[in-house]
């Protein structure tokens, strides 16, 4: 290192052409030949898998086979709740159903065990008499009575006006989306081939389009009729969010039919047999329908026709990210190895040799980052793939449901876990270079990644603060593992404590990547400026 700065460029220029691969090879050899590091990397792989499997190893609360083995799947492959009280007849071919919805009311058990009742306006008794915001009553055309079959429905809701919904995930606000209900309210659903159109009217003569749905491949013969359903009542109390049983009751006028309808009487069915994961009947009310004096019907039901989301309304089940809880353990080990990858050179004085062999310090650090990041990403990727395969198999065998995800999402989670490990490894390497002490560097990296996550998800902090923690700290990177979906038309607790990150998967990873990049840049600058 005694070469004068002026003479360095000519000396290094010829070496630059094949320099980087050679440096990379040197760093790879250094890593590969230290037995402790190789063992630690294997340990990281193992600990990720073992912790993930142990974390999800508990037996199902009701024992083997207590729950149905899987969530019903909608046409898009997503897990759905398909539970409602259905008063139906068979419709063959095209047709129209028109009905007046005279009222939509609801009953909810607001007695959740706490003596404070801030969730509803009534507050005095044990039950509230208004429909839940997403309680639904209206007309539905559905391919069959099996859960998850395609459907389209036009409905009134408790707090979100008239909606047109179809195939579980699609929700369109009707023309009068204001929460002020004007009853009676006319609803009409027109089926023409695979296209369904919903209309609404307040006077029965002026119709406004509420929405349109195209259900490709809809069977010629479908079930159509009136329905009512209500998800559980969500109550925000000072101690947290509670959910309690709720039912909805729709009072319909006489249905007017055109088209080829079966001649049998209207039949009532609780689709799915129960109220699903997000609904439940109260002790006193069951799903039912009764004819009214004017030729109409009163329909009472609980449940929801909507995708399954996370939080308390998910029921007993696992998500893909649950299996990857071991990533934290693996990350700690990988961060330690990556830190020692550079601090070890400082400690043993090897860095002087390294820098003599490759005087371009940025190149050395770049090669180190590539080796540490590459090894970490491969470790994370393999660990995620193995854990997911083993975990899903074993939990399903024990009677748990697993929230299904598309292969693209699963691939994103696996690749994301690899990149998460890589970013953490590069961050650890950079911090190790800056601090030159393994102990402090590792603590800084682990604490900055794991601690904010722990504080944000433990439920101590209010949701707003937790979300900011997961936006601005390196812990944001774990967002790449989130597979839980969020829908505006399903009420749940969408907070870090229930597995919801404030940032989109790749945006969250980008935050961690940004920290790693900044630390790496600082490390290169520092390494260039100071003596070895």
């Amino acid at each position: 290192m005694t070469t004068a700065p002026t003479s360095r460029p000519p000396a290094t220029r010829p070496a630059e052409r094949d320099g980087f691969p050679r440096t990379l090879h040197a760093e790879w050899t250094k890593f590969r030949t230290v037995r402790g590091w190789v063992l630690a990397t294997a340990g990281a792989l193992l600990v990720t898998i073992v912790v993930g499997l142990l974390g999800t190893a508990a037996p199902a609360p009701g024992g083997r086979g207590a729950h149905s083995a899987a969530y019903p799947k909608g046409p898009g492959g997503e897990a759905v709740n398909d539970s409602f009280y259905f008063v139906h007849r068979t419709l063959t071919g095209d047709g129209t159903l028109t009905v007046a919805l005279q009222s939509l009311t609801g009953t909810a058990d607001t007695d959740t065990g706490t003596d404070t009742d801030t969730g509803t306006g009534t507050g005095t008794g044990r039950t509230a008499r208004s429909a839940q915001p997403w309680a639904k009553a209206g007309i539905i055309v559905k391919e069959g009575l099996t859960q998850g079959s395609p459907y389209a429905a036009v409905m009134a809701t408790g707090g979100h006006g008239v909606r047109m919904q179809y195939n579980y995930t699609h929700d369109t606000a009707g023309p009068l989306s204001k929460a002020a209900p004007e009853y009676p309210r006319q609803l009409r659903l027109v089926r023409s081939g695979d296209s369904l159109t919903g209309y609404t009217s307040t006077d029965g003569s002026h119709w406004t389009k509420a929405g349109h749905a195209k259900l490709p491949g809809l069977a010629r013969t479908v079930q159509a009729g009136l329905f009512a359903t209500s998800p559980e009542a969500k109550q925000n109390t000072a101690t947290g969010t509670g959910f309690s049983p709720a039912v909805a009751t729709g009072t319909f006028g006489r249905p007017a039919l055109t088209g080829n309808w079966s001649q049998s009487a209207w039949r009532g069915t609780q689709v799915s047999g129960d109220a699903g994961t997000s609904g439940s009947y109260t002790n006193t009310t069951k799903g039912d329908f009764t004819p009214t004096s004017g030729g109409g019907y009163t329909v009472t039901g609980a449940g929801d026709i909507a995708p399954v989301v996370g939080g308390p309304v998910m029921g007993a089940g696992f998500t893909v990210e649950n299996f990857l809880v071991g990533t934290f353990a693996g990350l700690i080990v990988l961060a330690a190895v990556s830190t020692v990858f550079i601090t070890g050179e400082y400690r043993h004085g090897l860095l002087r040799t390294t820098m003599t062999a490759t005087p371009l310090r940025g190149r050395v650090l770049g090669a180190k980052a590539l080796v540490a990041g590459g090894i970490a990403s491969v470790t994370g990727l393999i660990a995620a793939a193995i854990t997911l395969a083993l975990g899903e198999h074993s939990t399903r065998g024990r009677g748990f449901r697993i929230l299904p995800v598309t292969s693209a999402t699963e691939a994103r989670v696996m690749a994301g876990t690899g990149l998460l490990c890589a970013a953490a490894a590069v961050l650890a390497l950079a911090v190790g270079t800056l601090l030159r002490r393994s102990g402090t560097a590792i603590t800084l990296v682990i604490a900055s990644i794991v601690l904010p996550f722990l504080l944000a998800t433990s439920g101590v902090l209010p949701p707003g603060v937790s979300q900011w923690l997961l936006r601005v700290t390196p812990a944001a990177g774990f967002a790449v593992q989130q597979t839980l979906p969020q829908y505006a038309q399903v009420l749940s607790v969408y907070e870090p404590s229930t597995g919801y990150y404030p940032l989109a998967p790749w945006a969250g990873l980008a935050v961690l990547g940004g920290y790693a990049a900044i630390a790496f840049g600082l490390a290169v600058v520092r390494l260039r400026r100071r003596d070895v």
Binding site: V51, D115, T239, I332, T339, I442
Partner: protein, 278 residues
């Protein structure tokens, strides 16, 4: 300070051991005092603990009676962060000696290895107790100033934080002891594995992984059991002042769990230190 083992035994028999231990204590104190990082790390512990505790107290609101919040636990949230710094301090107290080769000099001067470890543990505990007390008192003081502004008022059933209150005093003293036990746990682990990086990773993994795992476990019974054996969750039970019955483990029993972890680590460390070559 006789370097020869045979004379050391004789010394021990006639009571000179006490002198040796005092000397060792003094030597360890000098080492800890003059190591560049110690002061900074202790200051960092206090700063982080108070800052995080203050931030948490500022963030959590109590809108009405029965909000179920535990003001003492809130004010002392910073301990979860401060313990990481304490763990580093404790690990470095022994790993630095292995890293620099100083341990050979130390063990030549005081050949009884357990004496060295005992002296290290004593000095470290004293230092951590002192700075822990400062951190806890400052956190409580900050909480006392901040919390009433967030609705933790007498009208909502909360008296201002004061050490005259039995549970608060227990939480405060328990938190200081918690930090000391974390230091001993880290010291024992570092003595066992020698390398600073592995020791830190092990200790932080042990502390932080349990709570994360608890969130995923779906079975209430398993969850309960995990909370009872987790060094961090069980140990921090000593901070609870409300809803004590609903906690998975009692305050002192929880601290006892952490003490068991620390004792196991120290025991393993001293056995290995005694048995192996430096």
């Amino acid at each position: 300070m006789n370097p020869l083992g045979s004379t050391r035994l004789a010394d021990t028999a006639n009571g000179a051991w006490h002198v040796t231990f005092t000397h060792t204590l003094h030597a360890e104190w000098t080492k800890l005092r003059t190591a560049g990082d110690t002061g900074r790390l202790l200051l960092l512990t206090i700063t982080l603990t108070v800052a995080v505790g203050c931030g948490t107290a500022k963030a959590v609101k109590c809108p009405d009676t029965g909000c179920g919040q535990d003001p003492v636990k809130l004010a002392l949230t910073g301990i979860t962060v401060g313990q990481a710094v304490i763990a580093v301090l404790a690990v470095l107290a022994i790993s630095n000696e292995y890293g620099t080769g100083m341990i050979r000099t130390t063990l030549t001067a005081v050949p009884n290895r357990l004496t060295v470890l005992a002296a290290k543990a004593t000095v470290l505990t004293t230092v951590v107790l002192a700075s822990g007390t400062a951190a806890v008192l400052a956190s409580l003081l900050a909480g006392r100033c901040v919390l009433p502004g967030n609705g933790f008022t007498a009208a909502h059933g909360y008296a201002p934080l004061t050490l005259a209150d039995g549970p608060t005093l227990r939480a405060a003293a328990g938190s200081v002891l918690y930090l000391a036990l974390i230091a001993l746990l880290a010291l024992g682990t570092a003595t066992a594995v020698r390398d600073a990086a592995s020791a830190i990773a092990t200790v932080l993994g042990l502390l932080y992984l349990f709570p994360i795992l608890t969130q995923v476990v779906n079975n209430p019974h398993w969850q309960h059991r995990l909370q009872q054996i987790s060094p961090m969750t069980a140990g921090l039970a000593v901070q609870a002042t409300v809803h004590l019955r609903e906690r998975p483990i009692g305050p002192w029993a929880g601290l006892g769990v952490l003490a068991t972890w620390a004792a196991t680590a120290l025991m393993t460390g001293s056995l290995l230190l005694h048995a192996r070559d430096t």
